[in-house]
């Protein structure tokens, strides 16, 4: 058990940001040591590798607490080991009893008051931190509406009237306030379940509750792709409900917004046109149960954008991954496989009204749909 204080071997990754501001020298050394230890086990979705202020704040708060905990750990385990070694019964024990000590009031007061003081010291910045992470960001910020579905994420940018899914594109260095709820099907809370939005490098998690609105602030300090996952158990495919945040420089972001705001172009000839016909895009939603458009919106400029039961596919090919971060859009074979039998690729419960059913498409239909989908840049 005592070996736990030693770091386990792990790859060292660059890009450590150990918080070393405003601390005493001893504190600095301890923090550095711990920071090094934690950085030495970095991972793509690490909660200990903050990449924005809403992750950095809690991180700066917890590192000293880890240090305190480490000190207490060493102290208590040291006391135990010392007692075990020092006061073990010796082989030459005469059988007499040790002094029958019943207690010591001063000691009791000491180990009541000292921990209480330490905890009070932790409590103050904790409460400050609660308010500063939850309050509305100061100044300008971007609002994105988030809806957690079984088992994918819907994002709506009210400022631009854009719907996307699973990949949250945000401008770098700009606070983003997520207004979140959960619903199924569509925006109906009736069968929604609780999810939790969590991109560890950008912020801690916040549960997403059907019938209620919760908020989460995130902000990315650099252009990067951040991994996240649903963090509240939400049934069968809980693990397959990944989130991606793509932070772009402001110019790139504006270009992305422009593209997303434009309607999808319906191909007029070739395989892709057949795919568009199959998809049912020009008929909106009334082509029958097998129409893709019955569940997935591809906005071609007619009428208003309305969210479908499934992810919006208007600019499907502009994303990197599909099925909530499970498969690459680039990988045509995966897309085909998906269309052949979605529940085989990702556990879903279409019979229970959640997830995509197997549509029993023919290979020709699949070819056409793939061509169409990949044309939705």
């Amino acid at each position: 058990m005592r070996d736990r204080t030693k770091p386990l071997p792990a790859p060292t990754l660059p890009g450590t940001r150990a918080p070393i501001r405003r601390r005493t020298r001893v504190g600095t050394i301890l923090v550095l040591a711990l920071g090094l230890f934690l950085a030495s086990c970095s991972a793509p979705q690490s909660a200990m590798d903050p990449a924005g202020p809403y992750a950095q704040g809690p991180h700066d708060l917890i590192v000293p607490v880890f240090v305190i905990a480490l000190v207490v750990f060493i102290l208590v385990q040291g006391l135990i080991i010392f007692a075990v070694v020092k006061f073990r019964r010796r082989p030459d024990d005469d059988g007499s009893l040790p002094a029958q000590v019943h207690g010591n009031t001063r000691l009791e007061i000491f180990w009541t008051v000292i921990p209480a003081l330490i905890l009070a010291g932790i409590a103050v910045p904790t409460v400050q931190g609660i308010f500063s992470t939850m309050n509305e960001p100061d100044g300008e910020y971007l609002t994105v509406e988030v809806v957690g579905h079984r088992w994918w994420w819907e994002f709506y940018y009210p400022d631009f009237d854009i719907y996307t899914a699973n990949e949250l594109v945000i401008p770098v260095d700009t606070p983003v306030r997520l207004e979140m709820t959960a619903a199924d099907p569509g925006r109906d809370p009736a069968r929604g379940v609780i999810h939790s939005f969590w991109i560890p490098r950008l912020a801690g998690k916040q549960d997403v509750v059907p019938g209620q609105q919760t908020y989460l602030n995130i902000q990315a300090s650099e252009a990067d792709r951040y991994l996240g996952m649903c963090a509240e158990y939400c049934g069968l495919s809980h693990v397959n409900m990944r989130i991606r945040a793509e932070s772009l420089e402001q110019g790139d972001f504006d270009a992305w917004v422009d593209n997303q705001m434009s309607p999808a172009v319906t191909p007029t000839d070739g395989l892709a046109a057949q795919g568009a016909e199959l998809f049912g895009v020009e008929h909106n939603t009334d082509i029958g149960a097998r129409s893709c458009a019955a569940c997935h919106q591809v906005w071609n400029g007619d009428g208003a954008r309305v969210p479908g039961v499934g992810p919006d596919l208007t600019h499907f090919a502009s994303r990197e991954e599909f099925a909530a971060g499970l498969f690459d859009v680039d990988d045509e074979e995966q897309l085909r496989e998906w269309l052949r039998d979605p529940p085989a690729m990702k556990p879903m419960q279409p019979e229970n009204g959640v997830g995509m059913p197997n549509l029993n498409l023919t290979e020709e239909e699949i070819d056409a749909l793939v061509a169409y989908l990949l044309a939705l840049e």
């Binding site: 058990m1 070996d3 736990r4 386990l8 086990c41 690490s46 909660a47 200990m48 704040g57 809690p58 991180h59 708060l61 917890i62 607490v65 905990a69 750990f73 208590v76 385990q77 135990i80 073990r88 007499s96 009893l97 040790p98 029958q100 000590v101 019943h102 207690g103 000691l107 009791e108 009070a120 932790i122 409590a123 904790t126 409460v127 931190g129 609660i130 308010f131 992470t133 939850m134 309050n135 809370p189 009736a190 379940v193 609780i194 560890p200 912020a203 801690g204 998690k205 916040q206 549960d207 019938g211 209620q212 963090a231 158990y233 049934g235 495919s237 693990v239 990944r242 556990p347 229970n352």
Partner: protein, 651 residues
């Protein structure tokens, strides 16, 4: 069991069963010791099942993207693992000790309500069987042990078994709690004041009060869940304005005291064992007792710290952060007092002592990670990750289970009159410690590196480091499995052919060792009169002129009754005049009626419910109509309202 009184009355269905050996004697027993033993072996069975489930979990997560089991099966398995370990292993393991030890440690002959005690056991067993029968009846619950609405309302979650099964187990816990509270408050031996009670009794008392006040809350939550799923009520349905967070509040208002329900008996056990093997009294007895009571009390005011990332506002988050930090103080007090119990002693490293020290050490780790959870802004990073999984396993496995196993080794001679093998015990301890830390230590790291809990596969995208930690965890389970087999072997071999222990193998301090090992049916031929804390020790040792404690020669002290003398006392003391509660069929009969009720509620199937209710009522009437004892036709206690209550003042 008044075998000396031949019965003259005719036998009827209402006559009390008379078997003293064999199967019938066990299913009709009202002897707290036998019921305790039945609890223990039932716990072993469920522990094996829960352990097998953890094996499935760790096998699936040993490497990234494995598909040994489907997501559906995985979700059922992790849900049942949690339910099993909490409700069918740790809680009833504590109850096994309550049953066996409370009467012995307070100098009583049985619990206050022996038949109710049997009833509690059967409800526990049947609740467990009911829950596990779900595997054969369309799938086990898969909505996690926390049963969060609205997911739990969805038919595919199979949570009807959860709602009804936990209700049965709740009835068991509640009736046991009433029983033990009355037993402790009302059946203490003369002179056994509160501040002389063994620490295990203190912790049992607090635990049972927690059960008493926490079980009705989960009962309400489960009724709401069940009315929602079965009868279409709207408590948690967001579509009509139902609040899913209400479930969380109710669940954790029960769930946090539940944590202390699981850990306090363990703390009591350790507080008994450490002094014995340090050859010193418990350091800071009053502080440990009051810290336990404080933990129990504050434990009702910290529930929302399980909901820091839920839909609650910053004020609530702050308030619960403060109360959560506050509760760390009494926990710390206990840890320091245990360490200082060892301080200056002469430590004997027997297996129970090793497990107790292991408890203090491992529980400290769990306590410290618990404090880090209270740092709310960062809790949002820890919540629902493997960091939390690591934390509560350090508390419940490194904590509760280590201490409960220590208790098994320690009181094994009391129950069987034999010793368990120390050699195998040591092997068990060190492999257990290694396996435990190998399994749960790395989870701290993988959690902080972003691994969420309750995932049916380990996502490869979490990276190689996380994968490595998961592999280590899975290897740890293998070590634990081997270690558990060593324990099981040791247990069975020692029951069959362990070395005779004698009445007082550990030089113990408390009065359960005053009785024979194993104790006679009636526990004590003569109820001991208590004049000290650690009464048994004071009967063996006195202070010499220099204040140095020395052994009192046998019979040297006036009130010194050796266990042998107690067992083979002359004349009257053969126990035949002692009127003990008779066995009864009715607790079992009544409990069986809950099966049709429970299965009927699943559908619901009204005729099945009706059948069950009638059955239970018949059982209840059998219970109240049967003669209080074989040969008696009625209650021997006669209250004379005219006479003032005398001779029964509180001691």
């Amino acid at each position: 069991m008044s075998q000396s009184t031949p019965t003259t009355s005719r036998r009827s269905v209402f006559s009390r069963p008379r078997a003293e050996k064999g199967f019938t004697s066990w299913i009709t027993t009202t002897d707290h010791k036998r019921i305790g033993i039945m609890y223990f072996f039932t716990v072993l069975v469920f522990f094996t099942l829960g352990g097998a489930e953890s094996g499935v979990i760790r096998a699936q997560l040993a490497q990234a993207e494995m598909d040994l089991v489907t997501a559906e099966i995985y979700n059922q398995v992790f849900t049942m693992h949690g339910l099993t370990m909490v409700f069918l292993v740790v809680m009833p393991f504590g109850a096994a000790f309550f049953n066996y030890l409370i009467p012995l440690q307070i100098g009583a002959r049985d619990v206050a309500f022996p038949r109710l005690n049997a009833f509690s056991y059967w409800m526990y067993l049947f609740g467990g069987i009911f829950l596990y029968s779900s595997f054969l009846l369309g799938g086990a619950p898969n909505g996690a042990w926390t049963g969060y609405a609205p997911l739990a309302l969805d038919g595919v979650s199979n949570m009807a078994f959860y709602a009804i099964g936990l209700q049965l187990l709740g009835v068991s816990s509640l009736s046991a709690a009433v029983n033990f509270i009355v037993t402790i408050l009302n059946m203490r031996a003369p002179g056994l004041t509160f501040m002389r009670m063994p620490m295990f009794i203190w912790m049992s008392l607090v635990t049972n009060f927690l059960l008493l006040f926490a079980m009705p809350i989960i009962a309400v939550a489960l009724f709401m869940l069940q009315f929602d799923t079965v009868f279409g009520a709207q408590f948690f349905n967001p579509a009509t304005g139902g609040d899913p967070i209400l479930w969380q509040h109710l669940f954790w208002l029960f769930g946090h005291p539940e944590v202390y329900i699981m850990i306090l008996p363990a703390m009591g056990i350790v507080s008994e064992i450490l002094p014995v093997f340090s050859r010193k009294p418990l350091f800071g007895y009053a502080a440990v007792a009051f810290a336990g009571a404080a933990i129990g009390f504050i434990g009702f005011g910290v529930w929302a710290h399980h909901m820091f990332t839920s839909a609650i506002g910053p004020v609530a988050r702050s308030a619960f952060a403060l109360s959560t930090m506050f509760i760390a103080v009494p926990t710390g007090i206990k840890i320091f007092n245990w360490v200082f119990t060892m301080w200056g002693g002469k430590l004997r490293f027997t297996t129970p002592m090793l497990f107790s020290i292991g408890f203090v050490s491992m529980f400290t780790i769990g306590g410290l990670s618990g404090v880090t959870h209270a740092v709310v802004p960062h809790n949002a990073q820890q919540h629902d990750t493997y960091y939390v999984v690591a934390h509560f396993h350090y508390v419940l496995f490194g904590g509760a289970l280590f201490a409960l196993i220590a208790g098994v080794y320690y009181w094994f001679p009391k129950v069987t009159g034999r010793l368990m093998s120390e050699k195998l015990g040591r092997v068990h301890f060190w492999t257990w410690l290694l396996g435990f830390n190998l399994t749960f230590g790395p989870m701290h790291m993988s959690g902080l590196l972003g691994q969420p809990r309750r995932t049916a596969v380990l996502p490869a995208e979490l990276g190689g480091t996380v994968e490595l930690y998961n592999l280590l965890s899975s290897l740890g389970v293998v070590v634990l499995a081997v270690s558990a087999l060593v324990f099981l072997f040791n247990l069975i071999a020692s029951i069959r052919a362990g070395a005779a222990s004698g009445p007082d193998p550990w030089d113990a301090r408390t009065i359960e060792w005053l009785s024979e090992s194993p104790p006679k049916h009636y526990n004590f031929a003569e109820i001991p009169v208590v004049s000290h804390r650690d009464e048994f020790w004071h009967r063996k040792y006195a202070e010499d002129a220099a204040g140095q404690p020395v052994a009192v020669p046998a019979g040297g002290s006036e009130d010194h009754v050796t266990a042998e003398a107690a067992a083979h006392g002359e004349g009257d003391h053969d126990g035949h005049h002692i009127h003990m509660p008779d066995p009864s069929y009715w607790p079992l009969v009544m409990c069986l009626g809950f099966f049709p009720v429970a299965y009927g509620l699943l559908g619901p199937t009204p005729w099945l419910i009706g059948l069950g209710v009638v059955w239970v009522i018949i059982g209840f009437f059998g219970w109240i109509i049967e003669p209080v004892a074989e040969g008696d036709d009625d209650d021997p206690i006669v209250e004379d309202p005219a006479a003032p209550r005398s001779g029964v003042a509180a001691h």
